[in-house]
């Protein structure tokens, strides 16, 4: 039969189902196909903290939001255009995200009495039957039944057959958006190479879904989203945690060091450990320690030995590491501490995103314990920022806190990856006995013009020395309780961090004019939402600019001056206002807050509305 093809620039699909329905995989497969097709993409997986949350309930819904476009995009978008609802709970949990006139692809089998009851719909109410979905277009499919029929001769049991359901939906969507099945077919063949029956079943159901669209007369419109006008080059898809892991490996190699990664499993940081553990051919040593404290201490031991020591966690784990971070500050050793932030306090919202550990990073230690804080702003930026974090740590002998978050850690985007040769080498500050020995004595706490001490590691002859957590003499490094010396050392450690501002780029305006009515200042994962909002505001003729701060401690040296060039400064944060405290305390500028603390990223609309409100004043 014939169907019309309608062109679209920008589509947002949400795959939602039970946490066992395979929605994350379905979403990832559609993502890969779209990325390879050449669309710009942005994804947002959103899943429950429980591995098998109660089936059929709203709490157990797992979602994967995918935006693919022929235009430049920076976020997974605000309103969903097509929602796949594998059951009633999935519909209920996500309906508020669906735009008016949007499409619901509903698996009718997931709307039976039991599912409706589990999703807590009123007695006798079935949204597929009443008028509650009139604002939307509903496509009903009995996915379970069709999948079972398709595989009736497969010889597989019902459980295995039902696991193929998601492929039916995926096949249908590929039809709807004019996509080739090839990429997904290749994936299935590879994944189930050793299970031919399962492989064939998945392939068959995928095609069945595709043909359903092709042959069913109710579907007359297909959509086409052309490839995006991305800068030319070679691309891959990258997730934030993956980008961080790759960045660490590259940084170690660029510094001529081995990489040691000590960590304890925690959501949402564990994927960095998983990724690194796969790359032992680079000499990467991953160590799953007995707890968070051991993880950082082992990394400090590795750093002391001349290796790039890295530890990672999320907020609660970082809290446990606090004392050891202070030790690293005192020892003045290189160390990377990665915090993939999640909702807090305490256990908080393990699988949801938040930016609420900035003040913990800045101040979460006893004593005056300054360190460097740096934050990536997108999945691909994780790669570059991880290298930058390692560079600062190794060249300035200072612990660096790297603040990612659940949103960028699990999100993905196309990445025009660099060639290894284009990444600058890193120069660790290794000690040199010939230059540094004075009458046969090594002074481990002598400093260069940047106040950086040298890194004498065990095995270096004649440089034996003792370090520790006690205050040390500013020159000999011996234990010192001298009052003057303590004050001097506290100031030196602070000044050393401040001097790093001389070695980082100045803060740039990413978008908009160098001065104007309103500057939106962000940090970390709010980048995409702010960028999208500012682009729209500029198109609408507003004098708005955007700057995203990567270096949070020390701040870029021109930041204060930059803020002065704008009438107003708005700081959107996924917390109750943390960067704004630092900015307002430090600079003679009263910035205004925009806060969201719902475990969810900003939509660009939220930022745009706030900006317009300020501009109207």
């Amino acid at each position: 039969m014939s169907s019309v093809t309608e062109k679209k620039d920008d589509v947002i699909i949400l795959f939602a189902g039970d946490s066992g329905d395979g929605m994350q995989l379905t979403g990832s497969l559609f993502t890969n196909t779209s990325a390879q097709f050449g669309n710009d993409i942005s994804t947002f997986p959103n899943f429950p903290a429980e591995i098998r949350a109660p089936q059929g309930t709203v709490a157990g819904v797992s979602g994967f939001k995918l935006r693919f476009a022929s235009i430049d995009i920076f976020t997974p978008g605000d309103e969903v255009e097509v929602m796949v609802a594998m059951n009633a709970a999935a519909l209920k949990a996500n309906l508020d995200q669906l735009k008016v006139g949007g499409t619901i692809i509903a698996n009718t089998d997931g709307f039976d009495k039991k599912n409706l009851r589990l999703a807590k719909y009123d007695e006798e109410a079935n949204p597929l039957l009443d008028e509650s979905l009139d604002k939307f277009r509903v496509i009903e499919m009995d996915v379970t039944k069709i999948t079972r029929q398709t595989l009736v001769d497969s010889g597989l049991g019902t459980k295995d057959i039902d696991r193929c359901k998601n492929m039916y939906v995926l096949g249908f969507l590929y039809w709807m958006y004019n996509r080739s099945l090839a990429n997904t077919e290749e994936f299935i063949k590879e994944k189930f190479a050793k299970k031919p029956e399962i492989r064939d079943a998945n392939l068959k159901v995928l095609k069945a879904g595709y043909y359903f669209g092709d042959t069913n007369e109710t579907f007359t419109t297909r959509y086409e989203v052309k490839s995006a006008n991305l800068p030319s080059g070679e691309y891959r898809s990258i997730m934030g945690n993956q980008g961080t892991a790759l960045g660490l490996i590259v940084a170690a190699q660029k510094a001529g060091l081995n990489l040691f990664y000590g960590s304890y499993p925690i959501t949402p940081a564990s994927d960095i450990l998983h990724e690194l553990a796969r790359h032992k051919e680079f000499g990467v040593k991953t160590f799953q320690a007995e707890d968070e404290i051991a993880a950082i201490c082992a990394s400090i031991g590795a750093s002391y030995g001349g290796t790039l020591g890295v530890t990672a966690s999320s907020g609660p784990g970082i809290a446990l590491k606090g004392e050891a971070i202070g030790l690293a500050v005192m020892l003045e050793l290189p160390l990377l501490i990665i915090n993939v932030q999640r909702g807090g306090p305490s256990t908080g919202l393990p699988t949801k995103t938040e930016q609420s550990d900035l003040l913990q990073a800045m101040h979460g230690r006893n004593g005056e314990a300054p360190l460097v804080v740096i934050a990536p702003c997108s999945p691909s930026d994780c790669f570059e920022t991880a290298i930058e974090a390692a560079r600062i740590s190794l060249e300035h002998m200072v612990p660096v806190m790297y603040l990612s978050d659940g949103f960028i850690a699990n999100g993905s985007e196309p990445w025009r990856f660099p060639s290894a040769a284009d990444i600058k080498p890193i120069h660790p500050r290794f000690a040199n006995a010939e230059k540094e020995l004075e009458n046969g004595v090594y002074y481990p706490y002598r400093r260069d013009e940047n106040l950086v001490r040298s890194w004498a590691t065990p095995g270096m002859k004649d440089l034996q020395h003792r370090v520790g957590g006690l205050e040390k003499d500013f020159e000999t490094g011996n234990v010192s309780y001298d009052p003057e010396n303590h004050e001097r050392m506290v100031r030196i450690r602070k000044e050393k961090v401040e001097k790093i501002a001389e070695h980082i780029p100045e803060q740039a305006i990413g978008q908009g004019e160098e001065k104007g009515e309103l500057l939106i200042l962000g940090w970390g994962s709010t980048y995409g939402a702010i960028r999208t909002a500012v682009r729209e505001l500029i198109t609408e003729g507003h004098a708005v600019s955007h700057a995203q701060v990567r270096y949070l401690s020390p701040f870029p040296k021109n930041l204060g001056e930059l803020l002065q060039r704008f009438d107003q400064v708005l700081i959107p944060e996924i917390n109750d206002g943390q960067l704004i405290q630092l900015i307002n305390a430090r600079y003679d500028k009263r910035a205004l807050p925009l806060n969201k603390i719902k475990g969810m990223p900003f939509t660009s609309r939220e930022i745009k509305e706030k900006a317009k409100e300020l501009l109207a004043k």
């Binding site: 590795a302 290796t307 050891a324 020892l331 990856f417 290894a420 003792r466 957590g469």
Partner: protein, 341 residues
């Protein structure tokens, strides 16, 4: 331990210019001296040796050794040493810790270090008291001990450190005492020779806050009756005239008089026998108790097991064998890429 082919060090060469700041009469002095002598004798390279300590009186130790050293934070020395040894397997790494540091705040790291079996030597200075904080009871203080924090006596059932180490499946466990330098030196040498994590518990007298805690084991007049010095392949005998021995009665050790039994009837020490070692660690009676079994000293147990650092490196070698030396460009590209014109 790495040896040098140039000149022989003396104990003095291993001392630093720092004043030793333990209280006069502290048992730590003796341990420091034996350590310096042992390492000098073994002909180590100072630069290849590292001492890592936690917090407590004993943890000042690294400041007094002219090797590399780190006086770290409370309880974490074992974890720091693990990371160091994992990345620098060729170094000789020693952990200095105490009963509070290793068994209370650092208990978790200790048991995991023992099971992983890095080639690290752990010296646990046990004085059954918190000295640095001026006299609170420790996890090894006997129940009922009156201290500043337990004016009516401690309620805690104490740890038996070596039984704990056996439970964690340590590959080398031994006990020595500050007052027997010769024995201590022999044990330090044995620990150093062992490939794997060695745990040495050293009874160390805190003459300020817990003076005489081990006197019954260390004083000349009572030592023979209350201690057994384990020697490989030798029967367990003790007493002023070595007139007593230990015999196994089923699974139970019992004291017998040598006039009634021949040495062949006695328990012969075999440090490779895990069952016997378990029983030895349980010979932990309060010496004040009537018919208390004597307290063993020496190497209780040793076992050959793979080293964590070797296995870790082995996986790297294997990965390189399968995949070849890592290629950064290939890593950055990943599996699937596409081109935009």
């Amino acid at each position: 331990m790495s040896t040098t082919d140039t000149q022989q060090l003396t104990a003095k060469d291993l001392a630093t210019d720092q004043d030793v700041r333990w209280c006069p009469g502290c048992g730590d002095y003796s341990i420091l001296k034996q350590m310096q002598s042992t390492l000098a004798e073994a002909g180590i390279k100072k630069e290849d040796t590292v001492f890592v300590s936690g917090i407590g009186c004993s943890s000042r130790f690294p400041y007094y050794m002219d090797t590399y050293g780190m006086h770290s934070i409370h309880g974490r020395a074992t974890a720091i040493a693990s990371g160091l040894k994992a990345t620098r397997p060729e170094l000789s790494v020693w952990v200095i810790t105490g009963d509070g540091d290793a068994l209370s705040i650092g208990g978790n790291h200790l048991i995991h270090a023992l099971r992983r079996n890095f080639d690290v030597n752990i010296l646990l200075f046990n004085n059954e008291i918190y000295g640095l904080t001026k006299g609170q009871y420790s996890p090894t203080s006997p129940k009922g001990q009156v201290t500043k924090s337990t004016p009516m006596g401690s309620l805690d059932h104490p740890f038996n450190p070596l039984a704990l180490a056996m439970g964690a499946e340590a590959t080398f466990i031994a006990r020595s005492m500050d007052r027997d330098p010769k024995h201590m030196r022999a044990i330090l040498q044995a620990a150093d020779a062992h490939k794997g994590t060695s745990l040495i518990e050293i009874y160390q007298n805190c003459n300020v806050f817990n003076d005489g805690a081990f006197e019954v084991f260390t004083d000349k007049s009572t030592k023979p009756k209350h201690t057994i010095f384990l020697e490989e392949g030798e029967p367990l005998t003790f007493g002023d005239e070595r007139e007593f021995g230990i015999r196994m009665n089923g699974m139970k050790p019992e004291v017998v008089q040598l006039k009634d039994f021949s040495k062949e009837d006695l328990w012969i020490h075999d440090s490779k026998d895990m069952g016997k070692a378990l029983i030895l660690t349980r010979m932990f009676d309060d010496p004040r108790k009537e018919n208390a079994l004597p307290r063993p000293f020496g190497v209780f147990y040793r076992e050959e097991r793979y080293l964590y650092e070797d296995a870790m490196q082995g996986q790297i070698d294997r990965a390189k064998e399968i995949k070849g030396e890592g290629d950064l460009d290939q890593l950055i590209r990943g599996g699937h890429t596409w081109k935009v014109a």
